[in-house]
Symmetry: C2
């Protein structure tokens, strides 16, 4: 996905430098890309009348731009509005000997930027294609694509992927070589895995329409 | 969990009224409680130097208060700072005949309030107990509880559960009785389920320490 002019190292800025838990910070663009590719729901933060608002919504991306589906918050967003988009995968619980050392294994990307409302119909269509394909690969060419009226009724926001902060925690708890190791308390991790289930047909669907392969093949596969 | 003086209906305020997708809105406190109980990671939104910041963190609760573990954002939070805490469970993809009708089945709670730093040692201990038990029931009395030094080094934030907005989407796509139903496109939902895996012992753990029952029994159970 990377292009020659697109650095593989994320810039360290006032917004993205890691203030704590440094050992969990990553400035590899490949880590950012992997976290974004693993999920399809982000949490979009915006300031509305002086207060923060955080709403879940779906997203897609290309190499440099994150596309976010317009949501309750978009009403409040003119171009140039500062936003923060966070994508988090939770991989499990870290169960230590002491409560103090408990934690979560996770991967998160925090993207800072100013939002741009996509108005060009071609870019909007391409952004929606990426968003659709991100959640369900193969679906864009299978389902009916948006017509002009639907396209106009859809709010699509774009955000540069330039300024992002990545944190990753993996592995065992950190108190295995300290005094608490003598307590006889079990310690380790409890993994959490998301899995796609069997497709459930719309009750209104005629029974002779088969589940297409690009949807059927996800059943039982891991998500995230 | 409810008390006589604690309304089972969430107040409709300027911040919580549903501006769109009304059919997905719920003002039942029981729905809020269920969404909070289903997860253990929230997204905490705060304004830092005029920009929104959204960070994932863990939480617990009692009947009226949400306790949030101090995070990168807590540095910026004095008492009275406005925050937004959002908890989202993703239940699957809604695959419609048309791209326009695609969506996500989900449950989300958006909590608005001003943050209070918990300083009273008893409340802090109780808040951490709720937070620990929320993620791993049975763990508080099993692991070593925080000592005074650890308690002082932990930032715990409290937020009233009074002002919250709940949205829930379930079921099939919405275009089963429209003109797109004739397209012959498969439509339905693709469920997503999170499941706890087998506990993975810390490599530094002596082999004779068994997995305690309260952790072992989660293996294979659904989360969320």
């Amino acid at each position: 996905m990377s292009q020659p002019s697109h650095s593989s190292v994320l810039p360290q800025t006032e917004l993205t430098r890691h203030r704590r838990l440094r050992e969990q910070g990553s400035f590899r663009r490949a880590d950012l890309d992997a976290i974004l590719d693993a999920g399809f729901v982000c949490h979009l933060g915006v300031i509305v009348e002086g207060r923060p608002l955080v709403v879940p919504t779906v997203y897609g991306r290309d190499e440099r731009v994150l596309y976010v589906h317009g949501s309750v918050a978009s009403r409040s967003m003119a171009g140039g509005t500062p936003v923060c988009v966070t994508v988090t995968q939770v991989d499990g619980l870290v169960l230590a000997r002491s409560v103090f050392e408990h934690g979560v294994n996770y991967r998160s990307a925090v993207i800072h930027g100013t939002v741009r409302k996509v108005t060009d119909p071609d870019e909007k269509l391409e952004g929606l294609r990426r968003l659709t394909e991100h959640a369900t690969p193969g679906q864009w060419s299978y389902a009916r694509q948006p017509n002009r009226k639907e396209l106009a009724a859809t709010t699509l926001l774009a955000l540069s992927l330039e300024e992002a902060s990545v944190k990753i925690r993996t592995g065992a708890p950190d108190d295995g070589d300290g005094p608490d190791a003598d307590l006889g308390v079990w310690a380790g991790t409890l993994p959490l895995t998301a899995t796609w289930g069997a497709p459930e047909p719309d009750p209104l669907l005629p029974p002779d329409i088969p589940v297409p392969a690009h949807i059927a093949r996800r059943e039982g596969t891991r998500h995230g």
